[in-house]
């Protein structure tokens, strides 16, 4: 989308040390509403660390985050969720022993009052889950199905559904297609495109050029924990982006 409007999310000068290891050094990133930013880089380039900083799981050693122009300090994933900043982890971070609906609402379950007791409202969880899955055109047998019984693509869809169940403004996805069968990849990419249309800013970390060139509007490359290159999709090519990943301009 337009780069003239204010970015939804902006990270400035993010630096992260783990002991003596520098995982990120002075990294900048921004994403606008309805835009998809692709983040590429070799293994160990710092992509996942950057995303964990953005989601509040890691605190940056230095640097600052701005959400809708306002500086925010994220103490925990709950803080970022409250802002409307959601993360879909590479390992999906789903509890296999729980049903789909309870995974989607995990940590934010609707409750009802029974006298002085505050009990989970399972009917509401089911209702909201079905409505939300319908909206995203995700097909599962039932919201009561346990996540461990689902295919990789279905799990990915549930993870994305969870990230968007609470009016998310920015969704960050770590390798959303890496673990999927080829026929499932298309469905997940369609899902990302429909998210963009609703005005959500999407950040996709991926190794797959197909993913990047199907859904992204802009791509940035990290190399050894630093910003290496950045371009709109129309001004670059697969070969150039692959070169960036390997540290060649």
């Amino acid at each position: 989308m337009s780069s003239t409007s204010n970015p939804l999310l902006e990270a400035k000068g993010i630096t992260k040390y783990f002991g003596t290891i520098t995982a990120l050094e002075n990294v900048n990133l921004k994403v606008h509403a309805g835009e998809c930013l692709g983040v590429v880089g070799d293994n160990g380039a710092g992509k996942s660390t950057l995303m964990k900083v953005l989601s509040g799981l890691y605190k940056p050693s230095a640097g600052s985050l701005f959400f809708q122009g306002k500086e925010e300090i994220l103490e925990s994933p709950r803080d970022s969720q409250n802002l409307g900043l959601e993360m879909v982890y590479q390992d999906l971070a789903l509890a296999g022993n729980l049903p789909i609906g309870e995974n989607i609402f995990l940590g934010r379950e609707p409750t009802k009052n029974l006298g002085f007791l505050k009990l989970l409202d399972f009917n509401k969880i089911k209702e909201l889950t079905n409505a939300h899955l319908d909206k995203l055109k995700i097909n599962v047998k039932s919201a009561d199905q346990k996540v461990e019984e689902l295919s990789g693509g279905q799990r990915q869809a549930v993870a994305i559904a969870r990230s968007t169940a609470f009016n998310a403004k920015v969704v960050i996805m770590d390798e959303p297609t890496a673990a999927l069968a080829i026929k499932e990849v298309g469905k997940v990419l369609d899902l990302i495109n429909s998210l963009k249309k609703t005005g959500v800013g999407v950040i996709v970390i991926s190794h797959r050029m197909d993913d990047i060139f199907t859904v992204c509007d802009r791509v940035m490359a990290l190399f050894q924990g630093t910003n290496f290159a950045e371009s709109t999709l129309s001004n670059t090519s697969r070969d150039e982006v692959i070169g960036w990943i390997m540290g060649k301009k």
Binding site: P77, A93, A95, G96, L98, L119
Partner: protein
């Protein structure tokens, strides 16, 4: 051919939840039937049934506490020692002449604090596994119990203190005989188990306990404060061990150094037999109750038949191995690879 396989697979998938939920009850009913056939006059008599419940009363509290910990994929080896320390504190406070309502509260508070200590150790000291922290406190708490009591039994409590473990609810108003009473400890088990069933299945915290056992990273990513929940779980486990101490005080009228020795292993065994998985996230309160009952009935039945306690050990051990093998098979069928 493929269709047929698919049908069988889907039938399996449909049956699994029921088997998971109620399979253990089948085993329990089967055991009761077998014992009844073997000992038709005695086993199902009022006296013997109430006896079984009295015998399992304090174990059922430890098992319930350990169960919650196992659901988080943790373990608490210290429950027997927590119970012993709580019992000793109760005995010392009672001997010092404190009023009964203070005496009754002491084991509950002591148990809770011991559990809190475990929880803080596991989370704040970042112990690599709860096994290590609670193995340490297994020794610490028992040693502390002996230190405060001088390692000798302290006996003689008032009736109020003994009520939960020793009290009887008279049922003569129902036209029953005087010997046909309801042990207070049985009512207590029912109340505590129902409360914890509601807590684990209907409350947010309960759901989060299961989520942590299923995938702690998922829980963390969902903004759940995993450490806080773990501290709550270990504290509640200690609290339940404290209730166990109060029941035991009533039953034995004494605080003694060997109280609850190795009972942590019985508690773990009951959970495993009842279908809790060491991998976490699996198991039900009903299952734990069935597990405790199975162990209680096995011991009771074998005693009635005069079978040596050595055979009891062999049998209980065998049931544990069998129960876990069933868990392994269930995971094979129920989880996509």
């Amino acid at each position: 051919m493929e269709d047929k396989d698919k049908k069988i697979e889907s039938l399996h998938l449909k049956l699994i939840p029921y088997f998971e939920k109620y399979g253990i009850l089948l085993l329990l009913v089967l055991m009761i039937l077998v014992m009844h056939i073997l000992q038709p006059d005695v086993f199902l008599s009022w006296r013997n049934v109430t006896n079984v419940f009295k015998q399992i009363s304090w174990q059922s509290m430890l098992a319930l506490g350990v169960f919650m910990v196992i659901v988080t994929a943790g373990i608490d080896l210290s429950v027997g020692s927590i119970m012993m320390l709580s019992l000793m504190i109760l005995a010392v406070v009672a001997k010092a002449g404190a009023p009964w309502f203070i005496v009754v509260l002491t084991p509950l508070i002591a148990g809770f604090l011991c559990g809190l200590f475990n929880g803080l150790g596991i989370t704040l000291l970042r112990m690599p596994h709860p096994f290590i922290m609670t193995l340490g406190t297994l020794y610490i708490f028992r040693g502390a119990g002996n230190l405060i009591s001088g390692g000798t039994p302290i006996s003689g409590f008032t009736d109020e203190v003994r009520y939960l473990g020793h009290g009887r609810i008279d049922l003569q108003w129902l036209g029953l005989e005087k010997s046909q009473y309801l042990p207070v400890s049985l009512v207590l088990i029912a109340i505590v188990y129902i409360i914890f069933w509601i807590f684990l299945n209907k409350s947010k915290t309960g759901k989060w306990i299961y989520a942590i056992g299923g995938n702690p990273n998922a829980a963390r990513a969902s903004g759940i404060n995993v450490n806080k929940i773990l501290i709550i779980v270990y504290s509640l486990c200690g609290f339940l061990s404290g209730i166990g101490a109060l029941i035991l005080a009533g039953r034995t009228d004494s605080g003694y150094p060997n109280a609850g020795l190795q009972s942590e292993l019985d508690a773990i065994a009951a959970c495993i037999i009842g279908g809790a998985s060491f991998f976490g996230g699996r198991g039900t309160v009903l299952g734990v109750f069935a597990g405790v009952m199975i162990m209680g009935i096995l011991r009771n039945g074998l005693n009635l038949m005069d079978v040596s306690s050595f055979w009891q050990q062999v049998l209980i051990g065998s049931i544990i191995v069998l129960a876990v093998y069933i868990d392994v098979l269930r995971r094979d069928i129920g989880t996509r690879k």
